[in-house]
Subunit: 192 residues, 4 copies
Amino acid sequence: MATLQKSIDKRNALIQATISLVNNNGFHATPMSKIAKMANVSPATIYLYFENKQDLVNTTYIAVKAIYTQYAFETYDEKMEVVKGFEIIWKRIADFKLKESEYAQFLAQCDNTPMIDEPSRKEGIKHLQPLLDLWERGKQEGTIKPISDYLLYAYSINPLSFLLMAQERGAFKLTNEHLEHAYQAAWNSIKA
Amino acid sequence: MATLQKSIDKRNALIQATISLVNNNGFHATPMSKIAKMANVSPATIYLYFENKQDLVNTTYIAVKAIYTQYAFETYDEKMEVVKGFEIIWKRIADFKLKESEYAQFLAQCDNTPMIDEPSRKEGIKHLQPLLDLWERGKQEGTIKPISDYLLYAYSINPLSFLLMAQERGAFKLTNEHLEHAYQAAWNSIKA
Amino acid sequence: MATLQKSIDKRNALIQATISLVNNNGFHATPMSKIAKMANVSPATIYLYFENKQDLVNTTYIAVKAIYTQYAFETYDEKMEVVKGFEIIWKRIADFKLKESEYAQFLAQCDNTPMIDEPSRKEGIKHLQPLLDLWERGKQEGTIKPISDYLLYAYSINPLSFLLMAQERGAFKLTNEHLEHAYQAAWNSIKA
Amino acid sequence: MATLQKSIDKRNALIQATISLVNNNGFHATPMSKIAKMANVSPATIYLYFENKQDLVNTTYIAVKAIYTQYAFETYDEKMEVVKGFEIIWKRIADFKLKESEYAQFLAQCDNTPMIDEPSRKEGIKHLQPLLDLWERGKQEGTIKPISDYLLYAYSINPLSFLLMAQERGAFKLTNEHLEHAYQAAWNSIKA
DNA sequence: CATGAATGAGGATTCATTCAT
DNA sequence: TATGAATGAATCCTCATTCAT
């Protein structure tokens, strides 16, 4: 319905505005009024869609996390071999960080910040399950090191965030060659 | 002199308070008044030691970064073999992140945030030079992959930040076994 | 509309409060909070109508200046003889200073103070044009001394400010007789 | 004695600094700390010479007023004819406003401001007595209009302040010709 | 649903003044 | 006498949130 669509649009516009402004200024330095302005909406309207600022950011976080994982697993199939599957997922994630850098930057900024509350963090992690399942398979068949998922993530996936932020900051440029090296490093660090 | 010492103490107390409060609340959510209170001084006193809030945080960042790298290279000697040298440095860094987790957490929070200005970031990086030199040696003698320092850092050092923050968040516990695995992953990802 | 009117009222209340408080304490000694209180609004509300304190005072200055000149030329007609015209204007101005002494006092205080910025000063002067035109006519027909408008103003108009302030300060009382003398002095000082 | 002289110097330096800073920023916008800095003195030292800020400004006002009147009557002699005496004094005052424009500007700024308290104002006026005496003589012998001293002052002396401030503001340049016209206007406005 | 106006609470910063030395 | 360090009390301004329409 037209009016429902308009509601969804407004909600999305608010989420987009939040991402963009938080990326540039951080959570506490982006006033609701600016979010409203950027979304072409009155400040009061935000409160029709979100309980308060914290809720808006939490919701945004979960939404972006969902987009992220949806993208990551788009071309992955649970029946793939472990090595192949990991490569597929890793490259999709790399792709996402490059092509959707606004989203990726937002997630990176959320990572080490007291900006997002714990429940939302937990919620955001859930979507990562297929990767954890893949690793489990890999551990059992002996292709992946039998170590904590946190370690696997820290060494094979998380470094991409660091590289993206370095690039965003203008410190260096992530070329395709870099990406190939990165993939090798990632795989080397977790392969059995 | 007693009065000079008192000044230094006050300055340090302010820096410590900043670290602790920013760790828990983030930059914009820690008022100068709270920093002052925690350091047992009047809010106005802060401005005797720092130009403004941004300066206080920048200075704190650089100070912590200096402590961090000083610790990291304490037992390292440029005449060491590359492999040995890397292990020494890596383990010191890991040690630091565990033992001085407040400092480490602060640095992690600064990483992906618009909280620190670029000049201070640049300043903070300088101290890392010995590690870059080590890598350079390793590349030349063929023990370290000939890839960008950003990649080397992203895969061998930065993951520790992720692990620390996960632990701080209560998500998991970094055991000695984990650390050994982590070191292996780090080394595997960068060794030639 | 009712709500528009309420807005205008609030704006005016703020301007009135500014005049009254600045008259008694000077620009820097009148806090926004007091202005707000006197206008029966929250301090934050001021910033809906004015950019900041400087803007509030500048705007107030221009508004009062407009009221002043509007009053001064109310009964004047450009077709009047020079002598008659000058008398008409002079007496309106004198009238204004006596009857609207709050406004006049505010303008006097603005005169020799760094309180008002230059652009606003320039803006405020514009409205005086009819008097300058009258003097121009007078100079051409030989009834007014052919001297700088600044001098004409300094001797024929400005003394009224001094007298008003002396009276406000309680130093003396401006009677009708005084006013008649003042007019004679003013005219004597500029007539050809 | 050397130490007494140093005290006097410091006191004078403080007064000079006050004049200069108040001229440029107004009373409330010139912090004690800046006055101290400009006088090469610690803020605390000010309080050895003056009770508080208000006292410093009042004292400065009276001091400048004294300098002003001392200058004004320097070449005047009570035995002079009224017309001659007035001309002498008027021209000395004009001279002062031009040559000692910092002092003159300070006095002008004090004129219409709640910056100076009443007792100090009264104190400052006292020194003007010789001019009032001259006018009294003039009134009795019929060369000066028998009108209030306030009027005489408003029309013959005060306009110079207006002209000085206009010049300081850059609005126009007071030439010798202007001064001659000014004197004529002044005299015309008060001569019987 | 949508809004613009309104605001109370709070935050960074300044400043006149004091005090230990 | 002289000071630099210290501070409590303001002051300007912002912002998340509410409310009448």
